[in-house]
């Protein structure tokens, strides 16, 4: 049993706050990803869990015990670093067994555990090599192997894939997921890459400015973001934001985006949005995949409109179409055969059931 609990956790570097009081409960065997832009405090949080940084205030609990002042080696954790941090003078076997040898684990037990971990990671043939003779991906596997053999309560990953090239990164991402399915150890994983966060996590923790913006399952964050930051951070290409205001019309509400363009608000949301009729600082948010080309059969929530295409970006399986709505650039994802051309007029469809209304003042999604 190894839950990790953070209670009102604060970290200041001299006077600069890095983490400004966060609460988080990570349950046993869970894979939690801390994600956010650089400087959001995610790495600092991880390093505090590891014991590599002192905490300024608050508590960290691992397996129910407060570990605030417990040195890293007694926290029963293992960490994988961005630059692997393999011991350059030791072979792969020695690297993986270093922690066990320090703990004076019997030799045959060490051999058994290293072999088992090497099997999981498919590095059995590399055990005699030095780190210098390994590729980036292999080094990353060894670093993970070093963590696995220790059989710790918690795995900590600090941007482990950032040093790999794009293709290898995707491959190792799957690899990490498989390893977690096999060893089922509570894992805290830090990354700035929202795709990594979405694909790996049981739960994603989005951090910004030293605070937690939102915690949730990947799909929940995607479909029901709590704040403008989360809405814009999760998803690629990012969600479109357009300044708007609400209008009361016969039969319901309307969001007005420009003189020419206004969309009806779905009936079921009218009650929720009505208090915002006076709000001058509203944003209308809609993901690119919810603005598509005109189709013969439309759902009731899908509303057609016409735009002038600025730029198109053909991606193969889809084409990204960029256009302007009263000054803000908006992206749509249309089928390649829809015939989008730079500078041409085009009919698109917006799926209003997926719309978000954001109070730009507070940044909350309404």
């Amino acid at each position: 049993m190894a839950q990790v609990t953070l209670r009102k956790l604060v970290k200041h570097y001299d006077e600069t706050p890095a983490v400004r009081g966060i609460d988080l409960d990570i349950s046993d065997k869970e894979f939690v990803v801390l994600v956010g832009p650089s400087g959001c405090g995610k790495s600092t949080t991880l390093r505090m869990i590891a014991g590599l940084e002192d905490i300024t205030a608050g508590d960290i609990l691992i397996g129910g015990d407060v570990v605030n002042d417990v040195p890293p080696k007694d926290r029963d954790i293992a960490m994988v670093f961005q630059n692997y941090a393999l011991y350059p003078h030791m072979s792969v076997y020695e690297n993986m067994s270093f922690g066990l040898r320090l703990k004076k684990v019997p030799k045959d037990e060490i051999a058994r555990r290293v072999q088992a971990a090497a099997q999981i990671l498919d590095i059995s043939e590399l055990l005699d090599r030095k780190p210098k003779q390994l590729s980036g991906g292999q080094r990353q596997r060894v670093a993970m192997g070093r963590a696995i053999v220790r059989d710790p309560k918690v795995f900590l990953f600090d941007e482990p894939l950032s040093n790999l090239d794009a293709k290898l990164r995707v491959q190792m991402r799957t690899e990490i997921k498989k390893v977690h399915q096999k060893v089922r150890t509570t894992t805290v994983y830090v990354t700035h890459d929202q795709v990594e966060a979405m694909t790996l996590a049981d739960r994603v923790v989005v951090m910004n400015g030293g605070l937690i913006e939102q915690v949730g399952a990947p799909n929940d964050l995607y479909h029901t973001p709590a704040t403008k930051f989360v809405a814009g951070f999760i998803g690629s290409p990012a969600m479109n934001f357009m300044p708007c205001r609400l209008e009361e019309v016969a039969g319901g509400l309307r969001v007005r985006l420009s003189e020419a363009l206004a969309f009806p608000v779905p009936q079921e949301r009218a009650a929720r949005y009505r208090p915002q009729l006076k709000n001058e600082r509203l944003l209308f948010g809609l993901r690119p995949e919810h603005i598509i080309e005109q189709r013969p059969h439309l759902e009731p929530s899908q509303v057609p409109f016409e735009i002038e295409v600025e730029v198109t970006e053909p991606m193969g399986m889809e084409t990204l179409v960029y256009f302007l709505v009263s000054g803000s650039e908006v992206c749509a994802r249309v089928a390649p055969e829809a015939g989008a051309r730079d500078g041409a007029r085009m009919k698109l469809v917006a799926d209003l059931s997926k719309m978000h209304l954001i109070d730009d003042e507070s940044g909350r999604v309404l």
């Binding site: 590891a50 014991g51 890293p72 080696k73 293992a78 350059p88 003078h89 922690g99 320090l102």
Partner: protein, 302 residues
């Protein structure tokens, strides 16, 4: 080097000819100067060898200084059978080895703590260590002499005119520089390495012995060679602190015993110098690669 030149050449094929020509000229000039410098610096040892192989008579006859007409090993034989010369040699060797050991025992932990363990004032202290190295040793021997006299006066331990006392003195020259080299070397080791070791369960001592010493081996060897060379060739301090013939070290011994009044025993002086230069030369030859790697550490990543 050639790969770079080729890469540039293939990127701009029109300029390949001129690049190769300028590279050829650069090489020619490098060789010219390298040969000149090699001749310049090799002349003294070669001269020492030639003179060491001549008899006193041949030297006095002032024949061609670059040729031996009647080569003899008499000078070397005389030295290697001379009790006195062997004493100098032994004194020098014991001092040099002891100084290397003491220096490394102080410099490595000092550099590790100053370079890796962040604590209040560690940067100031590190700079302080370096500053002490900037003070010329020729300024320090008088105060050191006073200190040794004072110690003798108050404790009764005689430090002056004792060859082993130099073992205490030389580290004042070697420790600051070796610490400085090692600080630089330890700092070039990525900090994730000690964090990984900390998490793996290593204490600071284990981190030093199991991770840092092996990884920083080139730096340690560079520092060792430096400490050895300094204590082997130091002239001023033994000249000032030791007097009796049996207390002398090699550099001072050669000069004081082989020059009798105005009689210069050139053949033996040259042979003695050559023999004296041999140990550092042999050590360099074996450890040269490490030494260079140590002095240029941290210049590039990886």
């Amino acid at each position: 080097m050639s790969a770079t030149a080729q890469a540039i050449g293939s990127a701009a094929p029109a300029r390949r000819g001129s690049l190769q020509r300028s590279r050829r000229w650069a090489l020619i000039w490098s060789y010219v100067f390298l040969v000149l410098f090699a001749i310049f610096f090799l002349m003294p040892p070669v001269y020492m060898l030639i003179m060491g192989l001549k008899t006193s008579g041949e030297i006095a006859a002032m024949t061609n200084p670059w040729w031996v007409f009647h080569p003899t090993l008499e000078n070397f034989k005389a030295l290697l059978t001379s009790e006195q010369y062997l004493t100098f040699f032994r004194n020098s060797a014991v001092i040099a080895l002891a100084v290397v050991v003491i220096t490394m025992l102080i410099a490595v932990p000092a550099a590790f703590s100053l370079g890796r363990m962040r604590f209040w004032g560690s940067t100031t202290l590190a700079t302080g260590v370096f500053l002490t190295y900037l003070i010329p040793d020729s300024l320090l021997f008088i105060p050191l002499f006073k200190i040794m006299a004072w110690v003798h006066e108050h404790t009764g331990i005689a430090l002056l005119n004792k060859w082993w006392a130099l073992i205490i003195i030389y580290p004042t020259l070697t420790v600051p520089f070796c610490t400085w080299i090692m600080i630089g070397y330890f700092q070039s080791i990525p900090k994730e390495l000690d964090e990984a070791a900390l998490i793996d369960g290593a204490g600071y001592i284990q981190m030093l012995t199991k991770i840092f010493l092996p990884v920083a081996l080139p730096g340690i060897i560079a520092a060792t060679i430096f400490a050895f060379t300094v204590s082997w060739s130091e002239f001023l301090y033994p000249m000032a602190f030791t007097v009796s013939a049996d207390q002398l070290v090699l550099p001072v011994g050669i000069v004081t015993t082989l020059i009798k009044g105005d009689v210069y025993n050139w053949g033996q002086i040259m042979a003695a110098c050559l023999l004296g230069a041999a140990p550092p030369l042999i050590i360099y030859a074996f450890l040269m690669d490490y030494y260079i790697a140590g002095l240029t550490a941290g210049a590039t990543k990886g």
